[in-house]
């Protein structure tokens, strides 16, 4: 094993060098057993790789959990690797230094297993950048026994096909159990002595439920470019891969000796995970489908975890994580418990965006006795019709009532989130966004002066809707970039006299490429590689994104981005992700799509079960 020596001039010349130097409190350094000892008892070096900066990666809950989970084992040392920012990556290449793990500064290529977590498609080129900088062959086909096995997990892997050429194995679903099984499988393979081919381990790993080995499946295409079939090309490999979930989150492993970063990260506080899944069923939301069914943690468990973490980390702030915190059934009990236990130690609670109602305003008052936290509100669409299409269960009346409460309660404004380009959207829906903002302005003006804040400040932002796999809109075409731009301009124009509104929008071309990758197939692998070779990395960062390069690479590969993003797909089409099973059935998603077109809503899980299929896991909200 070697270690990478980082010269002073290198660290002194880059932005935020503490990103690269490790040594944080609660980070784990182990002694690697000697080769002779390893021959008797195999030891696994695991690199948890996050294809974005340290500040973003360290804010990721999967990393936080799995890092410590793996390090609990005496036969594993899990270390962390983040994508070096462009200044560092360029200098490392110039000085011929390989990418290394923070704990031991061992080069990436010397590890046994690399586990990437993928949170967004636009991180794909950063995966390649990290492999390349770590001297790991990019393609599975080019890797030898001396190279690590490269794995992927996270929400994006529900359609990992565009990256199928680069990952040896993929973990579908929640990692707490299956990751340990993969590690066992690897150590067993090492101990067996029969390690002449990489395939031996991959075949054994493919037997584990939730493990997908892309190279064991052959994809054929029809003349029209759509998928003909996805079939196993080995015996003993499952035809479909079902995601793994943890049924009892109270019993599940959760680390309380969490790493405390030396430099400020995005979510720099104690994390509490309230629940997984979401009962709401918003039709645009992939997370709401793939994390089903909803499973909650008990408030007493969470309060204990917070207290323990407060001691072991020294953090003075506790944050809550979930897809929709307002839906946590014991929110009041939890926040009361936390406030009562933590306030005496000067530890504050940071509330995430909550659905605006009386209750959450009270909660915010309680949680921030000195400061008013920001309010966020996500109506997503400008008219009731379109909100019904997407099954976003909020009315204009709800919004105005909540805003009145907030304004009377001393808040001077809110952030409003919308999407442009939703299926069936018309110009009236776009104008509806402006009307909603103006209705809030009117409401503000109608309040007596002494019952409202001095000034109203609304921050309104529009993101581009991107149809994602495993959602009812997976069949739907993505809106075109030009129309989106004109809608943004129209909206900006409508809001020009609304002085209390600040309008921000998202670059539609970036969303277009994200849309291509999200519903893409294996043929995009060479496009991603070409984009990386052409200089693409950190594509999710506006200032790094190179649209023309992507278009050029697609063209050179003879692939039409509109085929992936802008095509209405038929009910019969086999998707590139059809061999992945997230529990929610295609029939349910299709019926939701049909309901959407009719602007018919579907009740949330706790009101009425809509038989989405997630019941098959035998737990969670389906059995409450």
């Amino acid at each position: 094993m070697s270690t990478v020596n980082l010269p002073r001039h290198l660290l002194a010349s880059v932005e935020k060098p503490a990103r690269y130097t490790g040594g944080e409190w609660n980070s784990i350094v182990k002694t690697v057993p000697e080769a002779a000892e390893q021959a008797l008892r195999p030891f696994l070096r695991y690199a948890f790789c996050f294809p974005d900066t340290y500040e973003i990666g360290m804010s990721n809950l999967a990393l936080r959990i799995l890092y410590h989970l793996l390090n609990e084992r005496p036969d594993v040392w899990c270390e962390r690797v983040f994508a070096p920012w462009t200044d560092m990556a360029d200098r490392m290449r110039r000085e011929n230094l390989p990418l290394f793990a923070l704990e031991s500064r061992t080069p990436l290529h010397e590890f046994d297993l690399l586990g990437f977590t993928l949170q967004y498609e636009l991180a794909f080129t950063s995966v390649l950048d990290m492999l390349d900088l770590g001297r790991v062959p990019l393609r599975t086909a080019d890797r030898t026994l001396d190279d690590p096995f490269v794995m992927a997990g996270g929400p994006v892997v529900y359609n990992i096909e565009p990256m199928a050429d680069f990952f040896d194995l993929v973990i579908i679903g929640e990692g707490e159990e299956v990751l340990s099984e993969v590690v066992d499988c690897y150590l067993h393979w090492k101990a067996s002595g029969d390690t002449r081919t990489r395939e031996g381990f991959l075949l054994a790993a493919a037997q584990i439920e939730g493990v997908y080995v892309p190279s064991f499946y052959t994809v054929t295409y029809k003349n029209d470019g759509t998928v003909q079939a996805i079939l196993p090309n080995r015996t003993g490999v499952p035809a479909t891969i079902r995601k793994r979930i943890i049924l009892d989150l109270d019993q599940a492993y959760f680390p309380t000796q969490s790493i405390v970063p030396n430099t400020e990260i995005v979510h720099d506080r104690i994390f509490l995970e309230l629940f997984r899944g979401c009962t709401r069923g918003c039709r645009f939301c992939q997370a709401g489908m793939i994390y089903r069914p909803v499973r909650e943690k008990k408030p007493a468990v969470l309060v204990n975890q917070a207290l323990e973490m407060e001691k072991t980390t020294g953090y003075d702030e506790v944050g809550m994580l979930s897809l929709s915190t307002s839906d946590y059934s014991a929110l009041s009990e939890l926040t009361d418990g936390l406030l009562c236990e933590l306030t005496p130690h000067h530890t504050s609670i940071s509330l995430p965006s909550l659905r605006l109602d009386n209750f959450s305003l009270e909660l915010m008052e309680k949680a921030s006795s000195t400061r008013k936290g920001g309010l966020t509100f996500a109506p997503e669409a400008g008219t009731q019709r379109l909100r019904d299409v997407i099954n976003k269960n909020i009315t204009e009346e709800d919004l105005l009532k909540a805003m009145e409460l907030a304004l009377r309660g001393g808040w001077s404004g809110a952030k409003l989130y919308f999407m442009l380009g939703l299926p069936t959207e018309t110009i009236e829906d776009v104008e509806g966004i402006a009307h909603l903002a103006q209705a809030i302005e009117k409401l503000y003006q109608s309040l007596p002066r002494f019952e409202r804040p001095k000034r109203l400040e609304l921050s309104l932002s529009t993101a581009m809707f991107i149809p994602k796999p495993f959602t009812p809109f997976q069949w739907s075409p993505q809106a075109d970039t030009e129309t989106m731009k004109s809608h943004q301009m129209h909206l900006k124009d409508l809001l020009r006299h609304s002085r209390s509104v600040r309008y921000k929008w998202h670059e539609p071309r970036q969303s277009y490429i994200e849309g291509v990758l999200a519903r893409g197939d294996r043929r995009l692998g060479k496009v991603i590689e070409a984009a990386f070779r052409g200089g693409a990395r950190f594509d999710a960062w506006d200032e790094q994104f190179k649209y023309d390069l992507w278009i050029d690479c697609l063209e050179k590969a003879g692939l039409d981005p509109n085929f992936y993003a802008r095509r209405e797909r038929s009910r019969q089409e086999i998707f590139p992700w059809s061999h992945i099973d997230c529990g929610v059935t295609e029939d349910f998603l299709w019926s939701e799509y049909q309901q959407a077109i009719l602007a018919q809503t579907t009740p949330e899980c706790r009101e009425q079960c809509s038989a989405c299929g997630a019941q098959c896991f035998g737990g969670g909200v389906c059995y409450e």
Partner: protein
């Protein structure tokens, strides 16, 4: 207001902690103090913070063998106990070397700093020093208050002692009224002493000690 008790700590920071920015270091100490369970006083107001004062900011990349930090505590703890508890709670690279009671005074710890001793290590230092021996003044450009200004750093240097061809120790003015940062000194060596830019960029700099304005330097805690 209840009584507060000041403990003056002398601490070191080495690799990898030298790469923390000063704000990051402050945050790291705050959290370490909380982990150690020390009864730190909290400031009043909107956003209460643990009350601690560093004698002099430490720039990114700078090691120190002896900087000072005052903690305001609610209880009169044994300084050795404070040192011990904090040492068990600090991340890699930080260590508390000494702890002493200090009398609460109107003068802040920062205002007591008069000078600092530094050790610089990089190839070619002695030669570069020889070349600047007769350069008078040593004017370098410095970024100050949003613009570049020329400063003569010669009056800020109290003494320089060569420790070998590639090592020197120096005492320079430090503190809020006059302060010489070692990177500025290296820039002068580059400009007037032909120290190669690579050598300057790779120079390891350690603050050996802070000289506080007091009759008996030992009372400051060392």
């Amino acid at each position: 207001m209840s009584e507060t008790f000041i403990v003056r700590l002398r601490f070191s920071r080495r690799e990898p902690a030298i790469w923390l920015a000063h704000l990051d270091m402050m945050r790291t100490f705050e959290r370490s103090i909380r982990r150690a369970g020390l009864p730190i006083c909290w400031s009043q107001g909107y956003n209460p913070r643990p009350q601690m004062t560093f004698a002099l900011p430490i720039s990114v990349g700078l090691a120190t063998a002896g900087d000072y930090l005052d903690l305001s505590l609610e209880e009169d703890l044994e300084p050795a106990d404070v040192m011990d508890r904090l040492n068990r709670s600090l991340p890699t690279g930080f260590a508390i070397l000494a702890a002493n009671r200090a009398a609460p005074s109107k003068a802040s710890l920062m205002s007591l700093v008069r000078a600092a001793d530094y050790r610089l290590e990089t190839p070619g230092l002695a030669e570069a020093i020889a070349r600047i021996a007769n350069t008078q003044p040593l004017v370098v450009e410095k970024f100050s208050k949003g613009k570049m200004v020329d400063v003569d750093i010669r009056p800020l240097i109290e003494k320089i002692q060569l420790k070998g061809p590639d090592c020197l120790e120096m005492r320079v003015k430090a503190g809020s009224s006059a302060n010489l940062r070692p990177d500025l000194f290296l820039k002068a060596l580059e400009t007037y002493g032909d120290l190669p830019a690579e050598a300057a960029a790779d120079c390891a700099v350690t603050r050996l000690a802070l000289i506080l304005d007091s009759n008996d330097p030992e009372s400051a805690g060392s």
